[in-house]
C-alpha cells in the first residue's frame, strides 16, 4: 500500500529523493493517526483532510530545499493544525473546544512527541462504523480516512464509479459533522455493540478483497492493515484478535490462490510451500492471545477454521472432523449463507457428498430466496453434484455459479470444471 502515490502533487520520487520518500513514509504510517487527531475535537473530517492535504503539499514543497524535519509527523500535525486555525478564523466560527496548547509555532515542533499523544484512530473507526452512518458506506469511509485511500481507489475496489464513491464519502463526512457524531469510545454498556460494527466494517474490506480476486485487487492488503491497526489499538478484545488472525491467514494463502498462468487454485490443491509463514505465525499469536481471554466469537471461529486449513502446510493432511466441529459451532453462533455453504462442503468431506448435498439444500431452504444469488452455495452445489456423477445437474449448477462469479480466475476454473463434467 502506498498512500502517498495518490496524493503526490509535485514531481516524482526520483526528482525529490529522500524528502519525498520521507513524506511517503509519514503518509503511510501516520495518515490515519494525524487525521484522527485533527478531526477528534470538531468531528469535522473534511476540514481535517483539507488541512492535512495542505500540510503534505507544503512538506513536498519545502522539505527538498530545507531538509526533512527531525519529527516529520509533528511537523505535519503542527502545519495542519495551524491550517485548521486559519480555516476557523476565516470562517469566523467560534470554537467550542480549545486547541491543544503547545503547538502554536513551528519553532516548537521538535518538542512535540506524536507518540505521546493518545492515538485517536479507534475513535475514528468507531465514528466510521457508527449506527447513524449508512452500513454500506462504513467500510469505504474507513479505507478513506484511516488508511488514506482516495475515493477513486476505494470506488474501484467496490466497483463503484469514482464520482459516486466521492459523493457518498462527502455526504457521510458531512453527516458526521452536522449530526455531531463524537470521537469518543462509548462506555462499557454500549461498547460491545459498537465494536461489532467496527469489526464488520473491517471484515467488509476483507470480503471485497476476495470477491474481486487477487488480480483485480487495487488496494493490496487494505483489510490486513485495518485489522492489524485495530489489533494494536484494542489488543484485549478477543474478536479483534480473531479478525486480525482470520485476515492474516487468508492473506497468507493469497500467493497460492492463482497458479503461474493466472488460473484459480482451490484450497485443497494449493501448494502450502507458497503460503506466507510470517503471516501464519502472526495469526497464531493473535489466536493464542484471543483464546487466553476465554470468550468465543465468530471471528475467532473463522480464524480457527483457517488455521486448521493452514496446518496442512505442517502436517500434510487436513483434519476434517475438527473442521466439521468448528463449522457447526460457527453456524450456530453466527449463521449466514457463507457458514451454510461451508458447513455443507465440510460435511461432504467427512460424511460424503450425499450428506453434504442434503445439508446444503436444507440450510439453503432455511435461508430463503436470498440464497439463490449466493455464489459459494452455487459453486459448492455444482461440485457436489459433479462428485455424485449427476452430470447434467452439475453442468446447470456450474452455469449459475459461473454467472455469479466476479473473479476472472475463479470463473475460468469453474468453466474448466463444467467442461470436464460435460465430457463425462
Amino acid at each position: 500500500m502506498d498512500t502517498l502515490t495518490s496524493r503526490e502533487t509535485g514531481p516524482g520520487p526520483g526528482a525529490l529523493g529522500p524528502a519525498v520518500r520521507s513524506a511517503g513514509v509519514a503518509a503511510r504510517d501516520s495518515y490515519g493517526r494525524l487525521l484522527a487527531l485533527l478531526a477528534a475535537s470538531t468531528s469535522d473530517l473534511a476540514g481535517a483532510e483539507d488541512a492535512l492535504a495542505d500540510a503534505f503539499e507544503r512538506a513536498l514543497r519545502t522539505w527538498p530545499s530545507q531538509g526533512v524535519p527531525s519529527h516529520p509527523d509533528a511537523w505535519l500535525l503542527t502545519v495542519a493544525r495551524n491550517r485548521l486555525r486559519d480555516q476557523w478564523k476565516s470562517a469566523q466560527v467560534r470554537r467550542a473546544v480549545p486547541l491543544d496548547a503547545g503547538c502554536d509555532a513551528l519553532a516548537h515542533v521538535d518538542d512535540i512527541d506524536v507518540d505521546a499523544i493518545p492515538d485517536r484512530r479507534l475513535e475514528l473507526m468507531l465514528v466510521c462504523a457508527h449506527p447513524a452512518i449508512e452500513r454500506a458506506v462504513r467500510t469505504p469511509l474507513m479505507l478513506n480516512t484511516v488508511l488514506g485511500f482516495t475515493a477513486e481507489q476505494v470506488g474501484r475496489a467496490f466497483s463503484v464509479p469514482p464520482s459516486t464513491m466521492a459523493t457518498r464519502l462527502v455526504r457521510a463526512k458531512k453527516r458526521i459533522k452536522v449530526a455531531g457524531i463524537p470521537f469518543r469510545v462509548p462506555d462499557r454498556a454500549d461498547l460491545p455493540a459498537r465494536m461489532t460494527s467496527v469489526l464488520e466494517a473491517v471484515y467488509g474490506a476483507h470480503v471485497i478483497d476476495w470477491a474481486t480476486g487477487p488480480q483485480a485487487r487495487q488496494l493490496p492488503s487494505e483489510a490486513l492493515h485495518l485489522a492489524e491497526v485495530l489489533a494494536t489499538l484494542v489488543p484485549a478484545d478477543p474478536e479483534v484478535r480473531g479478525l486480525a488472525a482470520l485476515i492474516e491467514l487468508s492473506a497468507a494463502r493469497a500467493p497460492a490462490r492463482v497458479d503461474a498462468s493466472g488460473r484459480f487454485v482451490p484450497l485443497a490443491d494449493q501448494d502450502p510451500s507458497l503460503w506466507d509463514p510470517d503471516l501464519i505465525s502472526r495469526a497464531h499469536e493473535h489466536l493464542r492471545a484471543a483464546h487466553a481471554r476465554g470468550q468465543l466469537g465468530r471471528f475467532q471461529l473463522e480464524a480457527a477454521i483457517q488455521a486448521v486449513h493452514c496446518a496442512r502446510g505442517r502436517d500434510g493432511t487436513t483434519d476434517w472432523p475438527a473442521l466439521l466441529t468448528l463449522h457447526r459451532i460457527l453456524h450456530s453462533v453466527a449463521p449466514s449463507l457463507g457458514s451454510s455453504a461451508a458447513l455443507a462442503a465440510v460435511t461432504a468431506e467427512v460424511d460424503g457428498p450425499v450428506a453434504g448435498l442434503a445439508t446444503l439444500d436444507a440450510l439453503l431452504a432455511e435461508a430463503g430466496p436470498s440464497a439463490r444469488l449466493f455464489q459459494p452455495a452455487k459453486a459448492t452445489r455444482a461440485h457436489l453434484l459433479d462428485r455424485l456423477g449427476r452430470q447434467q445437474e452439475a453442468v446447470a449448477a456450474y452455469d449459475s455459479a459461473i454467472s455469479l462469479t466476479q473473479d476472472p480466475a475463479e470463473r475460468q476454473y469453474l468453466e474448466h470444471c463444467r467442461e470436464r463434467a460435460r465430457r463425462r
Partner: protein, 123 residues
C-alpha cells in the same frame, strides 16, 4: 449541541387505550421529564394534541391560506418535541432511547442548525 427529539407514533383512536395505560404513560413521561431536567439537558418538552387539532397556515401561493388538518397525512404523526442541549449525537440517542414514546413509536433525533437565543440567531 442542541438536538430536537421528534416523537412520532400512530395516533390511537378514541377509547383505544385504557385509563390504566394512560396513567402509566403519564407517569413514565413524568419520570422522563424529571430525569432530563435533573441532568441539566432539557430546554423544552411538549407533547402535542392529536393531529386532528392541527391547523396548517401558508402564504406561499400568494395570499393567506388556512386549512384544517396536518401538512401531510401520515400513518405515524408527530406527537411531541423535546429540545435538548447535550454534547453529541451519542448523548442525544441515549436520551431518545429512554423516552417512553420510543416504546410504541419512533424518535427522530435532529441537530439544530441555528437557534434564537438571547436576542440573536446563534450556532
Amino acid at each position: 449541541m442542541r438536538y430536537a427529539l421528534l416523537m412520532h407514533y400512530r395516533e390511537p383512536g378514541e377509547g383505544e387505550i385504557s385509563e390504566e395505560a394512560i396513567t402509566e404513560a403519564q407517569e413514565a413521561f413524568g419520570a422522563y421529564g424529571r430525569a432530563l431536567e435533573s441532568a441539566g439537558v432539557l430546554l423544552s418538552a411538549d407533547v402535542l394534541q392529536p393531529s386532528a387539532a392541527t391547523t396548517t397556515v401558508t402564504c406561499r401561493d400568494g395570499g393567506l391560506r388556512v386549512q384544517d388538518g396536518p401538512f401531510a397525512e401520515t400513518k405515524e404523526a408527530l406527537a411531541g418535541i423535546f429540545m435538548l442541549e447535550v454534547p453529541d449525537l451519542d448523548a442525544a440517542i441515549g436520551w431518545a432511547e429512554k423516552c417512553p414514546g420510543a416504546q410504541w413509536g419512533v424518535l427522530e433525533v435532529r441537530p439544530t442548525a441555528t437557534a434564537f437565543v438571547d436576542g440573536a440567531w446563534t450556532r
